[in-house]
Amino acid sequence: MLSVEGLTVRADATDLVHDVSFAIAPGERVGLIGESGSGKSLTALSLMGLLPEGVTAAGRARLGERDLVGVPESRIKGLRGDELSMVFQEPMTALNPLMRIGAQVTEVMTLHGRSRQEARARSAELLERVRLPEPAQIARAYPHQLSGGQRQRVMLAIALANEPRLLICDEPTTALDVTVQKQMLELIAEVAPALLFITHDLAVVASVCERVLVMYGGRVVESGPIREVFTRPRHRYTQGLLAASKLTPRGTRLPVIEGGVPAAGRFPGGCVFRNRCPHATPECETPPALTGDGHAFACWHPAD
């Protein structure tokens, strides 16, 4: 349903995301993990056509038969909020402070051709569906009267309003309290049609997704079914990441990855991870390709 091929995101002459390819089938829940600066958010924003000023995307991304990348905004905006929706990281600032919640929910429906009346009735349903208590009261409230968790539910209601084919969530729970996080994740897993879930939190991915893409330095370095990738990581970066998150059984070595994530444009040529990798050899100066069926990885010296 969603297919991305050779997606590259650039600011000036720097590649922030390089040659990323993946696909999402209907109903599938895919996680995109990586540290900040790995390019995961830019990947998502480029699919929505919402890249910041001065940042451009190239390559090919299609949702069904419609192109998402390299088309003018006038052609892609009909898809946004309709077939393709997104929930952002920061619920506190994502809603218009001067507009009532109800109006902000109905807006996304009237924009895509529903009548005002129908939209209003449906917005009450939606608020209920994302488990907001007293939907009628919430609809009349302004954003500042709601908690962060409530606002994120509203964002989710907006995203689901037109029954999209794909929901993109960019760290939707990072800004929330731990207790609220869990409820939110369960809700997303329950209501999402097909999901691209972006996070730096491995535990979160494990609880929501079936398949995972690991990004580092703007590239996908490993991908595959959650269970396989997490129990048997092949790329050395994934291995380090898992070790650092203590998801692996106790006693394994390498608790942290040496060094820090380089700034954009400062990644080494060849394998982007080689300057931090304990297994790097001169061979790693040649970029490794992402290979493998199902469970794929881009590493010259994979772990077993």
Binding site: M48, K77, N96, P97, M99, E107
Partner: protein
């Protein structure tokens, strides 16, 4: 909201009262007795005392103040010691002229600043956006009276298209009235428009970076549509504040512009009053201008609260 309104109203009334005391006290310090001034140097002490009694200036300051302030409440500004004519009607006549001048200037400023500032923000990376910014920076540096002189030079001296000064009441000839006000409006409006353009630009720029604008686009709006529907109202909040400050500035700017264009407004009345040592007149005009500034601040605060639900 009602509570806020009442509280703010109380502050307005209290400030106006304190301002009245301040204005009165200030003028009371003035050396020189109105009665002595009126009668000249050769007056006999008896005659001066007599006139003092007639003016009421022989009474204690507090009594005089209460008298004056009580009169103000009824729209009575007292009778001039110099011209012996009542001050209230004079102020009333002139206030209308000044209001038309100020509001016209504000309209010019808004008509210029809102589109230009928004455009400069949306196109802030283009040379054209930068050019608007630079032009507004230059416009701020030109005082209204200088703008007036320049406009007179261009439109009255060179082009001979408009009068260089003078004022024609609307009842006399609406066309001439308009012609006599065009240049004064422009002098006030161009300068204030330049200031406002900068504020509109920065307010819109701030809003353009807000997350909720991205949300609006994620809902399916184009970037222009998102800015239009969600951005401008948010951007208007800081602009309204500046607008209020500017109205106050315009009121004072009008005093100077009236002098440039020989327009019989409040400023002209004030300066004539000072020149003629007509204290009560000066006191009255100053009070009206100060009250107007306080009232504008009040309206701005209330509007601000109406626009922003977070403050309600």
């Amino acid at each position: 909201m009602i509570l806020y309104l009442l509280k703010r109203l109380a502050v307005l009334l209290a400030s106006t009262a304190v301002a009245a005391v301040a204005v009165f006290a200030f003028m009371a310090v003035l050396p020189g007795d109105p009665a002595e001034i009126a009668l000249g140097v050769n007056a006999t002490p008896d005659a001066v005392a007599e006139l003092r009694k007639q003016f009421g200036t022989d009474r204690p300051a507090v009594a005089q103040f209460l008298d004056w302030a009580g009169g103000l409440l009824q729209g009575d500004f007292g009778t001039s010691y110099v011209t012996s004519s009542p001050i209230g009607p004079q102020i009333g006549d002139r206030l209308g002229v000044t209001l038309v001048l100020v509001l016209g200037g504000m309209v010019v400023a808004l008509v210029l600043a809102v589109p230009l500032g928004t455009f400069a923000a949306v196109r802030h990376r283009d040379p054209l956006g930068a050019a608007i910014s630079a032009a507004s920076q230059l416009g701020i540096a030109i005082p209204a009276f200088l703008a007036g002189i320049l406009l007179v030079f261009v439109f009255a001296v060179q082009a001979q298209a408009l009068p260089s000064g003078g004022y024609v009441p609307i009842a006399e000839s609406p066309g001439e009235w308009l012609r006599s006000l065009l240049l004064p409006w422009l002098s006030l409006g161009l300068v204030q428009g330049a200031v406002l353009t900068r504020y509109v630009r920065s307010a819109v720029l701030d809003v353009m970076r807000e997350d909720y604008l991205r949300t609006a686009r994620a809902k399916g709006r184009g970037s222009t549509g998102a800015l239009w529907r969600h951005g401008l109202r948010n951007a208007s909040i800081p602009v309204v504040t500046v607008l209020g400050l500017q109205l106050a500035t315009l009121l004072i700017g009008a005093v100077v512009v009236e002098r440039v264009f020989v327009i019989p407004g409040l400023g002209d009345l004030l300066l004539n009053g000072v020149a003629g040592r007509d204290l009560l007149l000066v006191q009255g005009v100053v009070m009206v201008l100060v009250a107007a500034v306080l009232l504008i601040n009040f309206v701005v605060d209330v509007t601000y609260h109406l626009l922003d639900p977070r403050l309600r």
